[in-house]
């Protein structure tokens, strides 16, 4: 088993005819992801990579009732609307790749999604992959290996780097989720951890954090309170980042007296989580905790 997505997941791609949308649709198909339909307003009735395109998610869902998941490549100004459309069509999982969505839009659609029982991953995230089963995102598929380590990450490229080094060391992954780099995201570390806790395939967790916010501290608290009981190895990016400057991501900024590297690492270690100094130490630490 894996979490959230597997070989049974059926996907609608919103923004499938755009540059990014079509590029990644091709790569997801190559990976084996079951994409059943695409949506681009005004392009209904056409096909791309042999996948039917619809004007609305409503129509796509009516023609493909088995669809349960959407991935969104729509530009930021239209992405919010696309998310509501996905939620209203009853999809259970919506992966929002789009970055630069205004935060007041995000808080509203995340609140709305919760009231409708839809899980949102992102925005501004690389997506989710259950290696060997389904890839719903923009990550390079070849760096992942099927296995029993779950990964939750606030970063994109860094996740590929770490998955790559794990795979090369023979450590496979159950599911890898990039939760997203924005300050407000649909599914958080602790919510992902709840899922991993109940996934029998997942034997350990790698947490890839960043400066800013308190996601790592909340994860530590969950471990402390024994709500998460599997071994955890963590890495936090931004050890040398200055205070008050936004490091690329909107979420990666040390402010309001919180979110510093030092505090995060201390908190994680205080509850027994192993924290790697560099990404390349992670395989060794994972092997230790899995012994």
């Amino acid at each position: 088993m894996t979490i959230l997505v597997d070989e049974k997941t059926r996907v609608i791609v919103q923004g499938i005819t755009g540059n990014e949308g079509s590029f990644h649709t091709k790569r997801m198909l190559e990976y084996g992801t079951k994409i059943v339909a695409g949506v681009t307003p005004g392009k209904g009735g056409t096909k791309i990579f042999d996948i039917p395109v619809y004007d609305t998610v409503d129509e796509a869902k009516r023609e493909h009732p088995e669809a349960d998941t959407s991935i969104i490549f729509v530009p930021a100004r239209f992405a919010t609307d696309a998310v509501y459309e996905a939620i209203d069509s009853g999809l259970k999982l919506v992966v929002v790749i789009t970055e630069h969505i205004p935060i007041h839009d995000s808080i509203k659609f995340i609140t709305y999604a919760r009231s409708r029982g839809t899980t949102i991953i992102g925005p501004n995230c690389p997506g989710i992959i259950s290696p060997g089963k389904s890839k719903i995102g923009i990550m390079p598929g070849n760096v992942f290996l099927q296995g029993n380590v779950g990964i939750a990450s606030r970063s994109g490229t860094l996740t590929y780097e770490i998955s790559n080094v794990l795979s090369k060391n023979g450590i496979g992954q159950s599911t890898v989720i990039g939760v997203g780099g924005d300050p407000v995201i649909g599914i958080s570390f602790t919510e992902v951890m709840k899922l991993y806790e109940n996934d029998p395939q997942t034997k350990a967790l790698v947490l890839i954090g960043e400066i800013g916010g308190d996601a790592e501290e909340r994860a530590a608290k969950m471990v402390e309170e024994k709500a998460f009981t599997k071994p955890v190895v963590a890495f936090v990016a931004g050890k040398t980042a200055p205070v008050g400057k936004r490091m690329g991501h909107a979420g990666a900024i040390i402010t309001m007296g919180s979110g510093s590297y030092k505090d995060k690492v201390e908190t994680l270690r205080s509850v027994g989580i192993k924290v790697a100094e560099t990404p390349f130490e992670i395989p060794k630490l994972v092997k230790e905790v899995l012994k």
């Binding site: 990014e20 590029f23 990644h24 930021a76 100004r77 630069h100 969505i101 205004p102 935060i103 007041h104 839009d105 808080i107 509203k108 995340i110 609140t111 709305y112 690389p126 923009i138 390079p140 760096v143 990450s153 970063s155 994109g156 490229t157 860094l158 996740t159 590929y160 780097e161 790559n164 780099g181 300050p183 407000v184 958080s188 890839i208 960043e210 400066i211 916010g213 308190d214 996601a215 909340r218 990016a237 931004g238 050890k239 040398t240 980042a241 200055p242 400057k245 936004r246 490091m247 690329g248 991501h249 909107a250 979420g251 990666a252 309001m256 007296g257 100094e277 560099t278 990404p279 390349f280």
Partner: protein, 377 residues
Amino acid sequence: MKLFEFEAKEIIRNYGFSIPESILIKKGDDVEKKIKDSGIEPPLAVKSQVLVAGRGKAGGIKLVKTIEEAIETTKALFETPIKGIKPSYILIEKAIPHEKELYVGLVIDRNDRRPLVLASQYGGIDIEEIARTKPESIIRYPIDPFVGLRSYEARLIGKRIGVVGKALGSFERFLLTLYKAFIEYDAELAESNPLAYLDDRVLPLDLRITIDDNSLYRHKDFAKTEKERLGENTEYEIKGHELGLAFVELDGDVGILGNGAGLTMTTMDLVYGFGGKPANFLDMGGGADAEHVKRCVSFLLQYPKAKKIFINMFGGITRADEVAKGIIMALNETGIKKPVVIRLTGTNEEEGRKILEEAGIEVFNDPIEAAKVVVSR
């Protein structure tokens, strides 16, 4: 994007919340004439319009008792750097005698995913300091983003930080106004600190609003002050901003370029770990093409603090061959020679490596090794 105090106050004034009379002096104005013509009467607060925190302590706010003193002080403040920055604007306000100062602010609660009101009976000091020294004094009141802040909630919050009588109605109106600004201007932060608590009303002595950068396309009214706002950044940060780059200046000598914020920060951390010091943070972002990579690399080549450059790239959406092409283009076009260490892996790695090696540039696969080399050069 942080708004200047005078911009934030203009917003709530336009929303109908009455605040003290004031005049705004722009650098280059005839200070004497403008102050005298305004008819404003002392006592006055003369306030340097800079975006850094702790302006008061740093000498950016002066109370004056005569018009002459106001003129003199204004001229002096234009020449006084506050934490390194000289102001482009000075705001002169009627000084309002008051005894009590409150704190009230609106932020987005990352964990709750909703607006959060923070309020405390202790204003005038940093909220972080209040949180440290008097945590029990801070009221945290979450708002349903669909329902919004209700009048009764604003009153409830006011009561809980000790506002009573007529001033409670004023606090209610102020907080509703601040919330309106927070929502309509897509703010990440809207706070008044201190908020003066008078007998019959409250008054925002300071007011800070930070607009979510992602929503700036909905708020174009602040373009006119963009240049002055950027004055808060370093020369190269301004240049980077103009080029649309995610660039942050640092104090070391190793220029850093990565793809993805997490990887770029980790690259900085690696350099630091081997005894080096990053000269900057620069994230080329996801899916950069050769043209964008060229722009980034050229920028670092011309950036004097970077004595050498470390490019760390893990191909995913971004293709290694595009990155390689961009690097070559930058080196050729600028003609600037600096040690450049490149780590390249992932999508189209082979093609990228070939392009660089044909140009005589060494390529690393292992970032650790690359980091060691760049520090040693």
